[in-house]
């Protein structure tokens, strides 16, 4: 249990786009940090005690980027830690920010996550990141080109399509259900200032009119590759009360993974056969809710941001993390439960499906969830949000992060 109760007092973003060539990597990060500090009341650069930083390794070919951007994120002469855990990087950076305060070591901690994908080649980066998990392929005699084809149309969609197939088989979800998720996300994104794919008038037919990339996923369902950065400011309960109108208390964090199910041979994920089972997410949610004293997530969580580059994942995650019953999400989405003005709004930021600066994406989920509690989100929902969830996904479909937060500190009875 935390020695000190950490709270989020501010979240910042830079504008996301497919090419932010007006800024270099350090300047991109600086924009998010400045936005975060601008909204942090009396907190200035000098008040930050420690900085956590992370992005995907190898995507832009810049190793140790935290040294390059030290001066751009107020880290000069301060403890600086780099965290990188694939797609969950942002979630892990966020959780590291929580730990730095919860441990009692630092009072005010800045957590920064970013990606400038336009500088590199994401697909190549992904293959080398996942090498530990897909190394079995070269051992079977596949060269890189064939490997790319085997995993699908390159990058993450290759594995997401298997996930989608099994999810649709289990839940009887249709392609139209997938398209509905896309429409909800991109219309939400159009109302949020920092997002990438803003499509205020997109329809289900528009999505279904685009060609397949890897069945059942179509071009119109796939997340974009974005340049962007996100920053979060953590501090102690005492300081947060002085600084923020509505401090957001982080009451539960968890980071679990299970084996991959890409190939299921040897070192590469013999442990499971169904890529949409996601025991890591189930376990991770259980632990985080337990810490936060949440017994009925479907009743107690008011708002959730889940990490879904592909629409089938959004339906899958909201079930696995206990917000909807198994196989019931498509129906709930049809009935508008997850919509902006629904009972349990999901991904009103526009989600990863509309904006994906990979290293930042898993931080943007808890950051947007926190802003909904503060009442300061770009696309603020009409209902009052007391308790929210920010979820992250990555690795080779198996890493999961969870951040559960509330406008009240952790319950004292724990």
């Amino acid at each position: 249990m935390a020695k000190v109760q950490p709270a989020i007092i501010s979240c910042g973003f830079c504008e996301h786009a497919s090419k932010r060539s007006d800024v270099n990597m350090a300047e991109l990060v600086n924009e998010a940090v400045e936005d975060c500090l601008k909204k942090a009341g009396s907190i200035e650069w000098k008040d930050i005690d420690c900085v956590i930083n992370g992005n995907m390794p190898a995507f832009e070919g810049a190793n140790m980027p935290e040294l390059w951007m030290t001066d751009h994120m107020a880290a000069k002469n301060k403890p600086l830690l780099r965290v990188t855990t694939g797609g969950t990087t942002g979630g892990s950076v966020c959780i590291a920010g929580y730990y730095a305060v919860a441990s009692g070591l630092y009072d005010t901690v800045l957590a920064v996550a970013f990606e400038q994908q336009s500088c590199g080649n994401t697909t190549v980066g992904l293959s080398s990141v996942a090498l530990g998990e897909i190394s079995i392929f070269p051992a079977l005699g596949y060269d890189y080109d064939r490997l790319k084809r085997n995993l699908g149309a390159g990058a993450a969609i290759g594995i997401a399509s298997y996930q989608a197939m099994n999810y649709m088989r289990r839940s009887k979800a249709t392609e139209e259900d997938l398209a509905r998720v896309v429409v909800q996300n991109r219309r939400n994104a159009a109302k949020n200032w920092w997002t990438h794919l803003k499509m205020p008038t997109i329809t289900i037919d528009d999505v279904l009119d685009t060609p397949y990339i890897s069945y059942p996923l179509r071009f119109g369902m796939v997340c974009p590759a974005s340049d962007g950065a996100c920053a979060m400011l953590f501090t102690t309960e005492e300081k947060a009360k002085q600084i923020a109108d509505i401090p957001v208390y982080v009451n539960g964090v968890a980071s679990y993974s299970n084996e991959t199910a890409i190939v299921g041979i040897d070192c590469a994920g013999a442990g499971q056969v169904d890529p949409c089972e996601q025991l890591g997410a189930v376990k991770s949610a259980e632990i985080a809710y337990g810490q936060a004293g949440i017994s009925f997530p479907n009743k107690e969580i008011d708002y959730a941001e889940v990490y879904s580059p592909f629409p089938n994942q959004e339906l899958m995650w909201v079930e696995r993390v206990g917000l909807f019953e198994e196989n019931k999400a498509p129906e709930a989405y049809r009935n508008g439960v997850s919509a902006f003005n629904g009972e349990l709004p999901i991904n009103c930021s526009g989600g990863v499906n509309s904006t994906n600066a990979i290293g930042a994406s898993a931080m943007e989920r808890p950051a947007e969830a926190a802003l909904q509690i503060m009442g300061k989100a770009g696309n603020q929902v009409p209902k009052t949000v007391h308790t929210a969830l920010g979820h992250g996904w990555g690795g080779a479909i198996n890493f999961i992060t969870h951040v559960v937060m509330s406008d009240e500190p952790q319950r004292k009875w724990r």
Binding site: R20, A62, D71, G125, G141
Partner: protein, 164 residues
């Protein structure tokens, strides 16, 4: 059973496009006009070279300023072995050079007709020499430094020229 090693060889080609963002102007002015631009903090007046769009001392915005082409060596080495792209140039000097109006030092190549450590010692005055316009690409290799007393001879070589 006897262990037999087996390897499958593979090659991955990756193309990177490092965007220079707010620092772009430095490279564009270097390429087009042989200018060396630094940035000056609006608050503490510190002059940064390489340029930064924010001052790292006080986090204020900076403004672009043109710097003279002369400066002094802060520390140096002479390279006798290098990567493929540079091997034909060995031996060559590398130094941290502080231009006359700058407050920080920039890392850059130093050439000399007589490349010995005493020619590149701390405090040595140097001046910038540029590649001809058709060969400049907007990269740090568009220019280099030479000891000030050799400058006239370097800029008279057909492949190089001096700044204005």
């Amino acid at each position: 059973m006897v262990f037999q090693e087996h390897q499958i060889r593979d090659k991955i080609l990756i193309e990177y496009k490092y965007t220079m963002g707010g620092q772009s102007k430095f490279f564009i002015e270097l390429m087009n006009n042989k200018k060396i631009l630094g940035t000056k903090c609006r608050k503490c007046k510190k002059v940064w070279l390489p340029p930064r769009i924010n001052c790292s001392e006080c986090y204020e915005d900076t403004d672009w300023i043109e710097l003279p082409h002369t400066g002094t060596i802060q520390v140096s080495t002479i390279v006798w072995y290098g990567a493929a792209a540079f091997i034909q140039n060995v031996p060559y000097g590398c130094a941290f050079i502080k231009l006359d109006k700058a407050d920080t030092a920039m890392f850059q190549g130093v050439f000399s007709e007589n490349l010995v450590p005493s020619k590149l010692k701390k405090g040595q005055r140097v001046k910038a020499v540029f590649k001809k316009k058709e060969n400049r690409e907007g990269k740090m290799t568009d220019f280099f430094f030479v000891p000030e007393d050799e400058w006239e001879r370097w800029i008279n070589k057909p492949e190089y020229e001096g700044g204005d």
